[in-house]
Symmetry: none
Subunit: 220 residues, 4 copies
Amino acid sequence: MARIDPTEQSRSRRERILDAAFSAFATRGYRDTAVDDIADAAETSKGGIYFHFKTKEAIFRELMDTTADKLVGKVERAVATETEPVAKAEAAIHAVLATFAGHRTMARLLFLDTMGAGRVFQAETQQLHERFSRLIQGYLDEAVAADAVPPMDTRITSVAWFGAINEVVARWLLADKPGRLEDAYPSLRAMLLRSAGVAAERVGEIPLPVPGHEFPDSAR
Amino acid sequence: MARIDPTEQSRSRRERILDAAFSAFATRGYRDTAVDDIADAAETSKGGIYFHFKTKEAIFRELMDTTADKLVGKVERAVATETEPVAKAEAAIHAVLATFAGHRTMARLLFLDTMGAGRVFQAETQQLHERFSRLIQGYLDEAVAADAVPPMDTRITSVAWFGAINEVVARWLLADKPGRLEDAYPSLRAMLLRSAGVAAERVGEIPLPVPGHEFPDSAR
Amino acid sequence: MARIDPTEQSRSRRERILDAAFSAFATRGYRDTAVDDIADAAETSKGGIYFHFKTKEAIFRELMDTTADKLVGKVERAVATETEPVAKAEAAIHAVLATFAGHRTMARLLFLDTMGAGRVFQAETQQLHERFSRLIQGYLDEAVAADAVPPMDTRITSVAWFGAINEVVARWLLADKPGRLEDAYPSLRAMLLRSAGVAAERVGEIPLPVPGHEFPDSAR
Amino acid sequence: MARIDPTEQSRSRRERILDAAFSAFATRGYRDTAVDDIADAAETSKGGIYFHFKTKEAIFRELMDTTADKLVGKVERAVATETEPVAKAEAAIHAVLATFAGHRTMARLLFLDTMGAGRVFQAETQQLHERFSRLIQGYLDEAVAADAVPPMDTRITSVAWFGAINEVVARWLLADKPGRLEDAYPSLRAMLLRSAGVAAERVGEIPLPVPGHEFPDSAR
DNA sequence: AATGAATGAGGCTTCATTCAT
DNA sequence: GATGAATGAAGCCTCATTCAT
């Protein structure tokens, strides 16, 4: 008599809530998402949600954390396939862009909504950004150590890198006709590599804007 | 016996409201600021606010616009003192950093809270970011035209520049012990100039992190 | 140990709200009734009301509809007991008067407050009046078809009938010392029947005012 | 040096306010008309209004009174041209319909908005209705005295008359495609005269509905 | 575990009225 | 007389959270 493992059953419900919350937060933002919305989307009741999560905030927190974990994991796996320092950095940049390109919603949640959640989450957000820029900084430090790039303040540089990538992604997220995010990769890559002092030969040719494939403008 | 011009009088009240709103929004964010809070801070009544502004949103909008105007003005004035393209870009970067260094709250309002306001303001925010990146793009285009830098996709590069600067400022804003924002200038400048392909001689020496003056870490 | 069916339970609360709203609207009018008033009277919280009804307007709408339904139902049942056309009309008139006589508040809500609700409800109100005058027109048309009365413009006549009845009821509603509404029936009946051209023999004797039982005057 | 008489000047302003209020109340109803609206329409300031009138209610009251006076005046003048009792009644009916036909707004104010004003005005409204039905009753009593109609309860009959007329006017007011109010006169006249027992010869032929000129339906 | 009803604090906005100038 | 700025009491509605079942 195959009864469903209650733990399994519960997890599936819990997961369903997380999924629903994820998509709701990403679509409407934290503040504009009511717990009722999540309940509806998860085909549960409000009470059901409060059984699994202490507060609305807790849902958001958990979502932020696991999502960030996923992304970091992807980046690390992508980087692991490379050995040369600069190639590692390139792989990281590409991994981020590729991941977001495939998961617009994830990007939206991670990078756009963090402030919408209000004061409460600023610490959370900061840690997220910190985490990513530290990741980058690690690769830059390696590159410096390997003499692939000259010494520099890798802290500031990595923060700036993160900002640059973040902005390109955000702009793409909000564009009316997004186009393909990966089209931005060559130029962004060149810009970042050069910013770190990677040798011109290694950077290669500087891409020019392809007519008809310009980076999207914010409409209206 | 100089009576106060009623127009003046009214403007002063209006201004008082704007000031109060400015500081409240910058401190607590748009959503977490109640109209009552603004009224209290402006030493007016809620009704008084609604005499001068149609909605809470209108206050925020006006604040965003005028603040952005001020910043753009400062940047343009700083740039105007230079003639050489790269120097213009440097001046712009420096102007932004210097302005924000002096007006933390302004920065907070412009760059951190925009999303906190919710879906309604995404268009507004986009325009703001757009405006700044276009400003940068203008200088980059000039530099390309003057052969100060090689041809490139100035659209993406300027978006990335904006993102880089934005992130450095934001990180500083949220730091517990901010330090001096201008300490970040040399490295940020070098990073940006190199990213655009400015000649190494022109960029000059790459600054190293000064022990004890590292870029602030996010607390906790 | 009979537990109350939760559906039942909820309905009873919903009903309690409707009852409270009904009496509040009828007493103070739509605009002068705050949602808080209804909540208090229903011994619920404001939020509780908004769980059951989307807006204040929705409560009013539902009340109007069901009340009208009840009245129409009563009239139709009364009419169904008669076969002769003129008798049907008489039954209808009597049913309206009798119903209102027993339910002053219902009358008040249906006939006096409709405009107090403001522009929003004019359509609703019109439909209500339309509904009743169409009901009357149906009986008049039957009477014409049965040669019980001569041909006439039954549309205008029925509108006028409705107006006449409405006014008599309204005047009674607003009177300080209402007296018995049914005392007005004989004269109103005679007036209406004659207005439709019912034969004098069928109408019978024209009632004279009974001293001491005059139709109430508006006080002051 | 022809200075404008200050009294005159003041009255003109006062009148302008009344006019503006009249049209505003008639268009949007009492509750939905803000004092600001009136001020704007009268090209004055809110303060100016409160100089001339103690409260918003006072404006409405005065408007109701003078408007009713005007209408009563018209009716009485029309009736004065007739000597025969039934003709007087006919003249009165016609005068009301004709006046309203020419002044939709006046009708709206007097007959539709009275309740919208809320509890406060019910006394006022009642007096208005009372006044008109007493006017009618006077003519009916004369007719009875002159043996033009048989004895009856003229109190109820006149109330019913008033209601009948009122409803026809109201329906016309709210119709989408009003048509001509006076088209309703023949049938309404016949209905009313018959209701009072006026001899068939005197009433004349009963009008049938003219195809294409039916009394307007409430749209939708 | 889950449900749905209930709560109540709090948010934004409107508007009649007052008042200093 | 007139103006427009200011007041503050309501008003309607939302929503995170709790709770009986």
